[in-house]
């Protein structure tokens, strides 16, 4: 059976920006291993001549005319956030080092 290690779970949680505790690490390791083991049955299917499907409409490059229209007012657009500074969203720092 496929085994997803605890260290992998921690790494995935980091990538997905999800906080998990020790108990959850253990549980997720078991549950994800079981699910991934099940879906590995797909290895039995011959897909040599298959092109991957990412959508079923067959539509490509759908465009609209570039027209102006009424959009949300700024106060409405930011109205659901608790962290606003002078009409803008406040976001966490992503680059910590000062660039001179």
């Amino acid at each position: 059976m496929i085994k997803i290690k605890h260290s992998e779970i921690v790494h995935l949680a980091d990538l997905a920006q999800i906080k998990i505790n020790k108990k959850e690490i253990q549980k997720l390791s078991l549950q994800l291993s079981k699910i991934v083991d099940y879906v590995s049955e797909l290895n039995d299917v011959d897909t040599k001549n298959a092109v991957p499907t990412n959508q079923t409409t067959g539509l490509t490059n759908v465009t609209n005319d570039d027209l102006t229209s009424i959009s949300l007012k700024q106060e409405d657009a930011v109205g659901q956030s608790k962290n606003i500074y002078q009409g803008f969203f406040k976001v966490p720092i992503t680059i910590k080092n000062k660039i001179i």
Binding site: I4, E8, I9, L12, A13, L15, A16, Q17, I18, K19, I20, E24, L28, Q31, L32, K34, I35, V36, Y38, V39, E41, L42, N43, V45, T47, A50, V51, P52, T53, N54, Q55, T56, T57, L59, V62, N64, L72, D76, A77, V78, G79, Q80, S81, N83, F89, K90, V91, P92
Partner: protein, 471 residues
């Protein structure tokens, strides 16, 4: 007054001036007040807003004759509820998650606007599995929804509250989403009709996304006619959704042949469900519809394909919830959302992408090819919706894989992008609802409605209401 179950009945009452729109809405609100404490199908009830809208309809009724009011408001008298994934301007929208506990949208989904313009009145937002992740309604952060046909049973999910609100006459129709059976399963478990339209037939603008290559907007009702009436309004192009197309189904609706896929009636299907569908088939046959055995050997891989593609898309769609622009932070995600985000991150991560995600997209193509091929020898396909009749609350909740396998018969339609209609038919010995689904080629909704309306005649269908008055 007791609430009515069809659009036609409500329109008749209004046009014959036997009731006002306010009285109708008030009756639905009273039904909710009385019975939803037990069923828990609503997260938000629009007490005042719905009555205000009713007064506007009453004004229009007094100023217009029958013909002009119905041309302005084809869905006059329709009281609708929305799965709490549909954005409704000024009305809280939670996705049944604590992340969006106090989120009030600044605009409405296209479908919500379309239905409102057609005369529908929004009575409230229904409970569901949080982010539409689930098959039983038990994953909601706002408590489980109960099946009105037996409160110790699940109503099916994820559009659990939508199905229950229609089943228990708390609204006339309800809108839901179907990514892998999330409309058809709860319809099947509550004795209601549930439509999953063709992928790309109905606008998804303003509906919280789960898995974008699979999500479809559909609805519940108590008659095939009402499913059709609502679809006439919801379908069609929307400049805000680039995945939409409009195509028509031109084959004649005579001498029809329905395919019976061998693989859907093998091990794992309960005898009660299987025997009941055989009864349905013989009713069709008595009325001249032919049935053909067909083989869909790769559809058994559908649920595995789904549990790779869907979590991958979930992990991407849920990455936008960071608590910066709206809602709470990512700490507020509950167990099932975390599990799917983690699973999706795993199948997309470097080293595993080809083995899982790419492989799943290829097997998806194999399944699609098989389905398209099948429609060369039949007009539609009949199948069970679920392996078993409604199961008990708590029965599968601790085993995610077991819960996921509930939707093994639902996956085909979503993966192939074809429409499917869940039709209520029969009951178990314990009085729990049964039924089946009919799938058709892309954009063949009219064929499905035709078959469903004919089947109502063949089976002497009558609307059945759960005995909620004894709750």
């Amino acid at each position: 007054m007791t609430t009515q179950s069809t659009i036609e009945k409500n329109q008749k009452l209004l046009l014959e001036k036997k009731a006002s729109m306010r009285e109708l809405v008030d009756a639905y609100l009273k039904t909710i007040q009385k019975y939803d404490g037990v069923l828990n199908s609503f997260i938000t009830v629009n007490n005042e807003i719905s009555l205000k809208k009713a007064d506007l309809v009453d004004k229009l009724l007094s100023k217009n004759d029958k013909v002009s009011i119905l041309s302005k408001l084809p869905l006059l008298g329709t009281v609708v509820s929305y799965k709490d994934l549909f954005l409704t301007k000024g009305i809280r929208t939670t996705a049944a998650s604590k992340v969006l506990e106090s989120f009030v949208p600044q605009y409405s989904a296209t479908v919500v606007d379309k239905l409102e313009n057609a005369g529908c009145i929004n009575i409230g937002k229904t409970n569901c599995d949080a982010w539409a992740h689930g098959s039983s309604g038990e994953n909601s952060d706002y408590g489980v929804t109960k099946n009105p046909w037996g409160v110790e049973y699940v109503p099916g999910g994820s559009s659990s509250g939508s199905a229950v609100s229609v089943s228990a006459n708390m609204c006339t129709v309800s809108l839901g989403t179907d990514t892998c059976g999330s409309i058809r399963l709860p319809a099947n478990y509550t004795y209601t009709y549930g439509l999953k339209p063709t992928y790309g037939a109905v606008s998804r603008y303003g509906v919280i996304a789960m898995a974008s290559s699979l999500d479809c907007i559909g609805h519940f009702s108590k008659t095939a006619a009402d499913i059709k009436k609502v679809f006439e309004i919801t379908k069609g192009r929307d400049l805000k959704d680039a995945t939409l197309d409009e195509k028509s189904y031109n084959k004649k609706l005579t001498n029809m042949v329905i395919g019976v896929p061998d693989e859907f009636f093998q091990n794992g299907l309960s005898d009660e469900v299987s025997l009941n569908i055989k009864k349905a088939i013989s009713l069709f046959e008595k009325n001249g519809v032919k049935f053909n055995k067909i083989n869909l050997p790769h559809t058994k891989y559908g649920i595995s394909v789904y549990y790779i593609i869907q979590p991958a898309e979930v992990s991407s769609n849920l990455s936008r919830y960071d608590g910066i622009r709206y809602g709470k932070g990512r700490d507020a995600f509950s167990e099932e959302a975390k599990r799917r985000i983690m699973l999706g991150t795993y199948v997309l991560s470097s080293g595993y992408y080809d083995a899982y995600y790419l492989k799943a997209m290829k097997v998806r193509s194999v399944i699609i090819r098989e389905i398209d091929q099948a429609f060369k020898s039949c007009d539609a396909i009949i199948a069970p919706v679920s392996t078993t009749p409604p199961f008990k609350l708590g029965e599968k909740i601790s085993d995610p894989l077991k819960m996921y396998l509930t939707d093994i018969y639902a996956a085909t339609a979503n993966l192939a992008g074809i429409p499917s209609l869940a039709i209520p038919f029969g009951f178990t010995n314990d009085g729990m609802p049964l039924g089946f689904q009919i799938m058709g080629p892309r954009y063949s909704e009219n064929l499905l409605f035709h078959l469903a309306e004919n089947f109502e005649a063949y089976s002497n269908y009558t609307i059945k209401n759960p005995d909620i008055y004894n709750l």
